[in-house]
Symmetry: D2
Amino acid sequence: MANSRYEYVKGFELDDRILPNIWVVVRIDGKGFHKFAKAHDFEKPNDVNALNLMNHAAVTVMEEFRDIVLSYGQSDEYSFIFRREADVYKRRAAKILSYVTSLFTSSYVYNWNVWFPNKKLEYAPSFDGRIVLYPTDQNLRDYLSWRQADVHINNLYNTVFWNLVLKGGMTNQQAENELRGTFSADKNEILFSKFGINYNTIDPMFRKGTILLRKRTQIPNLPNVKRQLIIPLYEDMIRDKFWKEHAEILGKYL
Amino acid sequence: MANSRYEYVKGFELDDRILPNIWVVVRIDGKGFHKFAKAHDFEKPNDVNALNLMNHAAVTVMEEFRDIVLSYGQSDEYSFIFRREADVYKRRAAKILSYVTSLFTSSYVYNWNVWFPNKKLEYAPSFDGRIVLYPTDQNLRDYLSWRQADVHINNLYNTVFWNLVLKGGMTNQQAENELRGTFSADKNEILFSKFGINYNTIDPMFRKGTILLRKRTQIPNLPNVKRQLIIPLYEDMIRDKFWKEHAEILGKYL
Amino acid sequence: MANSRYEYVKGFELDDRILPNIWVVVRIDGKGFHKFAKAHDFEKPNDVNALNLMNHAAVTVMEEFRDIVLSYGQSDEYSFIFRREADVYKRRAAKILSYVTSLFTSSYVYNWNVWFPNKKLEYAPSFDGRIVLYPTDQNLRDYLSWRQADVHINNLYNTVFWNLVLKGGMTNQQAENELRGTFSADKNEILFSKFGINYNTIDPMFRKGTILLRKRTQIPNLPNVKRQLIIPLYEDMIRDKFWKEHAEILGKYL
Amino acid sequence: MANSRYEYVKGFELDDRILPNIWVVVRIDGKGFHKFAKAHDFEKPNDVNALNLMNHAAVTVMEEFRDIVLSYGQSDEYSFIFRREADVYKRRAAKILSYVTSLFTSSYVYNWNVWFPNKKLEYAPSFDGRIVLYPTDQNLRDYLSWRQADVHINNLYNTVFWNLVLKGGMTNQQAENELRGTFSADKNEILFSKFGINYNTIDPMFRKGTILLRKRTQIPNLPNVKRQLIIPLYEDMIRDKFWKEHAEILGKYL
């Protein structure tokens, strides 16, 4: 049986190479994670183990793709920033997108028990992904600022909301009414006056999201041994300070 | 902190809608499954549990995407055929591709223990995917014929090869030399004369791959109850017979 | 001076090959032809010379692109249908689109004097173009039906409108009011009762648009000499009759 | 006759919007201009009228597209640089590409007689075009350097070649042999020693190509009246000097 007669169908696969010299962002999002969080009793407003599991999966992706210079995660989403010159899989868009999404998903399911040793994974969770291209460094920074501002807005809201519900005894509807039309300052005030919480002292992972960078790091207990490791940071990416301290991100070489 | 200042970056997400009225094939492939098979001692030439796990994951995908009319799997690859009119996620290519790949991966890892209850999953496996469009029914049939002819060629070769090695006591190199330049008839003859194996009686899942179709099926032990179920078939898709018997695949409505 | 240092910029040219085995339609439209028609005193509602000039330019395009099996023009637009298997310029979309549009434009300007020997071309007219792909023969027929139904609707309206204005002495506004809410039958009736015009006897080029086909044709005055010529037809493409009489269009070979 | 039944075919027109904030280069090339030049007896190695006609057509394009900040022409090609923020036709690629190519072609044919008042245009010439995107200013500069280095290489060769043929009495083949393996310095030497020509004194339009920029310019004979005009320059774009003197090109605002 000759296969050659049908091989012409390979010709329908079109080239989807990404433009050279441009920031490539792969962002993945949990599918139906509102329901997934409920089914697995995630803590409100933030479940530290669920976030650590996201970070764990993101590290798996970064270990595989050396061209990722920064990853940024919050809630059920993660963004992977490939350096401009990345040549992995000849920059084929579908290949990169599908592989990143698959590897992230696989690591998330595989490592569930590491972070939830006493909780059964009820069903197979999934993520979707997209590729977005940013021509300039400023565009890239604005993208990351957009995602980080999003964390701030959502997390402040959720923190107050769940304190009103869980500690304040309000129904969801009552808490929603209470918060309608409030500004950041109002929400900070509610948190402090009603619950004695200073928002700025909350776990920075909740407030800032998680930034993963590659850094030459001293190996503990091994004097003089340094390795390039992927480390988590919970810093402000909106201001210039971050970009000065980690100048290698926008630099041409790591 | 206003988010609006950065929201312009959303404008960099471009429309990737798939052309209407065309067969959409999503094919996923295992990444490094040669190594993965070795690490998990998959049986040679075919590991029935590994194939069933692939089929299990494919069923998960079909249950989610009602627009998939046929799936076809072999070895570490699976093709999902979306009907021409599919409007899922407004036909956005990246969304469909990433979600299918993610869901398949997730189900594969999640259900590992179902098929390998006594074997530890050593690391997180992954898949990549691609989308290919076929304008005509004939193109689609030729695509599936291409994949199925591929199964035949590979499986016949592998069956003889591993019999020569595992039962015939040859080294891999000796088996390779023995098979160089042989035709199908020669391979069938070796199988029969040396090992008493009639190739055509081998498990059809190995010889034909697995076709998944939706069929109204009588529910066992429930007289008069029929449901649309996803069922596996191991038939020849190259000849017309299959397409006549399952005319709903190319028909406009299931 | 070495050029090689800059040649990397060629790598930014991406592949834009069109999917195989699909109908490729290039449609071009006049830019600002309302103003252009006015500036050149085109006759209302139809200027036969202006239409012939469009047809002339379309023939130039068809002579260059042997893969065009049918062209269809009306008003200031023209559609060129490339056969499914066309391999011209390796199906590169930008190449095909820009060359067709350029050649049409060039021929339009070049041949202006053929059709308007006593009228100066006041300025350089231009066209824009687009490529649209149609997977099935039915889609292609529906595309052409769409364009031809458009001719009918517009031409019937324009014919009555300009008769009301030019012969009936109405202002544009009065004619517009007269026609508001009328159906085809009403318009036919106005034409007949007020101006003695039977719409169906009007020049079919105005009513049906112009179809250009390649046909083996007897050369006048040369008995027994037949050549493949590009000939104009003014037939109904909506009904089946046309497609039966010109079965070669949808056939694989001309 | 309802048109609505067929209107679904509009849904096959896909979005082809260009990524925001990126340099958009439209480059057009003459189709078969070797033959065209021969058919119209263009002077060798450069025909000043033919180049002026190209420039004339390019000015027509720039007058229409205010977003073009620089155009660069040589031989039978022209590049149009749209500023990063250009929003013309909502950045639809096919629209921009086809319209630029059409307008250039139209102006070329329309103005033929301005530059060749005594020469009949023998047939309708045409151009094809492409769009290339460049993410950074450096990429754009390298693109223009690439084209300008190309002019230098070709023009120096052609200048020597045609002097050897036209003044030196060589056949084309002899001139080709004479030049094989020579470097720039050799070619300059041949020009000077054999024909008394100092290459650097040749018309800069031939040596550098034509750059078109928009400049506020004093209107002749109208003291104190300045207008933004499109003016031709024949400068070196490879060195920094040009970009410093015309800083508005890479600046955000004109």
